[in-house]
């Protein structure tokens, strides 16, 4: 493949991925508002468009048109850089996520992934761990006590749960023998999903819990506990800068859902039938369905569970999830070692 | 197109020298600690460059051990800094001149 064609295809893929991701973020916000509303016996947004379907557009317009207030007491360079950092890192991880088999197009086979790296999983973990900076710096540079408390909580929480998150993936990695997300998915082909085939139920549980904490979602949303900290680390942000944090949070939710699908639920593995074009399309559909299941799980839990207390949060991470993850590693390696693979 | 090994080693030396410089002229105890990390990073770079040069993986393995030591050191060192700050209310190393808390 000539280099120009390669770059062109990559650019097109990036543009499509960004468009789909941002639109999906906007509509997940709407879905969240609608679902939470129904769980609380309300209607949710109904005014803009049929059933409120144009609400995300109205929200986006509002974010753009609002005055962008920069309080006078903030540390400007970091105050401006923090939301950009958050959003950039949140969107970068999408580049590494495969969403289906390669599609044949005009003689060449185009993988449904922006770039296939042999250490893809590690890079995603790296991007997630660097993502703490956006939140920490936002809180610090705002020069406000609520923001500072929120970002202190966020950094402590994210460092703590990163350990359990990373360790929960080791069982999967031992089974697959590769860091490449595509190979991990291929190793689960034929319904040999890691969730049951390699007995990673506990790892899946740990991963989901830790991922909820990493994305600062209920019941781990202490960094932005509105009842005590106003809005946590983004208290002093408004307009587009606030929107950046907002979109980053939902993009992170998508990344987490994609990883869970790829690592534990067999990625795009699912029943494939029908004519040739359906063979290409169906895996992507299964992948999207699995992701939507996770997004629904997020919303469902938000509508169900109250927030943890801070000491409960730390005790849960360090005294429950971490030992469980270590035990999972020991058992998984023992089983695989005894099977002699 | 390859890059001479000496380029990597020179870069490593420059970074190490800057780390030493920061270690000497900085007064904030946290910044001094960070300059130690910078020196460790400079050394890691030459380890990896040598590993690539001699095609020996042990150079990379050394980097892991350096990172482990750096992580352990950061945990204990920052705990010490917090303890010092609690008793002295300062981060200036010039004010921390008694051999007791």
């Amino acid at each position: 493949m000539p280099i120009q064609q390669y770059i062109l295809i990559a650019l097109v893929k990036i543009a499509i991925a960004l468009f789909v991701l941002l639109t999906a973020c906007a509509y997940v916000v709407l879905a969240e508002r609608k679902l939470i509303a129904r769980m609380q016996n309300r209607w949710g947004p109904t005014r803009v468009g049929p059933f409120g379907f144009l609400q995300p557009l109205a929200d986006g317009l509002k974010f753009i048109l609002k005055e962008d207030i920069i309080p006078s007491h903030v540390y400007r360079p970091l105050y401006i850089a923090a939301p950009m950092l958050s959003l950039t890192l949140a969107l970068t991880s999408v580049a590494l996520i495969p969403i289906g088999q390669a599609i044949p197009l005009g003689g060449a086979s185009i993988p449904l992934q922006i770039t296939d790296v042999n250490i893809g999983l590690l890079i995603i973990l790296g991007i997630t761990s660097v993502g703490v900076y956006g939140i920490a710096l936002a809180g610090w540079s705002s020069n406000s006590k609520y923001s500072l408390l929120g970002s202190l909580r966020a950094s402590a929480q994210m460092i703590s749960y990163e350990l359990a998150l990373g360790l929960s993936l080791i069982g999967v990695l031992i089974g697959a023998g590769s860091f490449s997300l595509r190979e991990i998915v291929n190793s689960q082909a034929g319904y040999h999903w890691n969730l049951w085939y390699r007995g990673q139920v506990f790892a899946f549980f740990i991963y989901v819990m830790a991922a909820f904490a990493e994305t600062n979602r209920v019941p781990f949303d202490l960094p932005e506990a509105e009842t005590e900290l106003v809005a946590g680390y983004h208290t002093e942000y408004s307009a587009m800068k606030f929107a950046m944090f907002f979109v980053a949070e939902y993009a992170n939710m998508f990344t987490v859902a994609c990883l869970a699908t790829l690592l534990f639920l067999g990625g795009w593995d699912g029943p494939v039938f029908g004519p040739g074009w359906l063979h290409v399309l169906l895996p992507v559909v299964w992948f999207v369905v699995k992701i939507l299941f996770f997004i629904f799980l997020y919303i469902w839990i938000r509508g169900t569970l109250p927030r943890f207390r801070y000491d409960q949060l730390m005790a849960f991470g360090w005294k429950f999830l971490l030992p469980l993850a270590l035990a999972n590693i020991v058992v998984t390696s023992l089983v695989i070692g005894l099977q002699g693979r | 197109m390859t890059v001479p090994l000496s380029y990597y080693l020179t870069l490593s030396a420059i970074l190490f020298a800057l780390g030493v410089l920061a270690f000497i002229i900085k007064r904030n105890i946290i910044t001094i600690f960070m300059s130690i990390e910078l020196m460790l990073n400079a050394v890691n770079l030459s380890f990896v460059a040598f590993a690539a040069h001699w095609k020996q993986l042990s150079g990379q393995i050394f980097v892991f051990f350096v990172m482990v030591v750096a992580a352990a050191e950061a945990a204990v060192g920052l705990a010490i800094i917090i303890a010092v700050f609690r008793t002295r209310d300062t981060l200036n190393v010039d004010d921390v001149n008694l051999l007791k808390l």
């Binding site: 590690l122 809180g139 | 007064r27 904030n28 393995i61």
Partner: protein, 205 residues
Amino acid sequence: MHLALFLIFGALAVASAVNLVAQRHPINSALSLVVVMGSLAVLYLLLGAEFVAAIQVIVYAGAIMVLFIFVIMLLNAGEEERTRGSRVAMAVGIPGLIVLAGALMVSLSERNPAARDRVPVGAMFGPPVEVGRALFRQFLLPFEVTSILILIAIMGAVLLARYHAPHPPVARALDPDEAAELLEIAGTHGSATGARERARQEVRR
């Protein structure tokens, strides 16, 4: 291409390191150090050490430096004060550094035949599988020893950072006499257990 990437990220690393020295506020220094580590990760990729590059980002930039920034935020560290009493160190140290750097440059320059060896870049000889094999076979004992080191570090950090109140809060069990005495002070009466409970609340207040 590789040379260009090396020059870009090498220059970025040096510039950030200089910034670390020049900045007065610790958080700016910390962020410069993060940039140094990021550019070093790119250089590791150029050298074919992909796993080390990933670990560099995850461990150094993602964990150690976050810890630093956390402590800076926690202690609310302000601008650095001017240095006191280290003029001798400056007067001796800077020329010494220049001499040292010059000597290194000369010994590493192209004229030195030993330094003319080229690094075959992008050979990708250190895939994670190989690194893991070396780590768990050849270097198993050091690997296990580092785990003990980490354990000791965790215990040390917990011990050091535990909060010692100037006057430790009352946690001792009150004996009934004392409790009764306290209750008398408060001017109330009750059963023995109730008195102890009340007295404890009294003390806590």
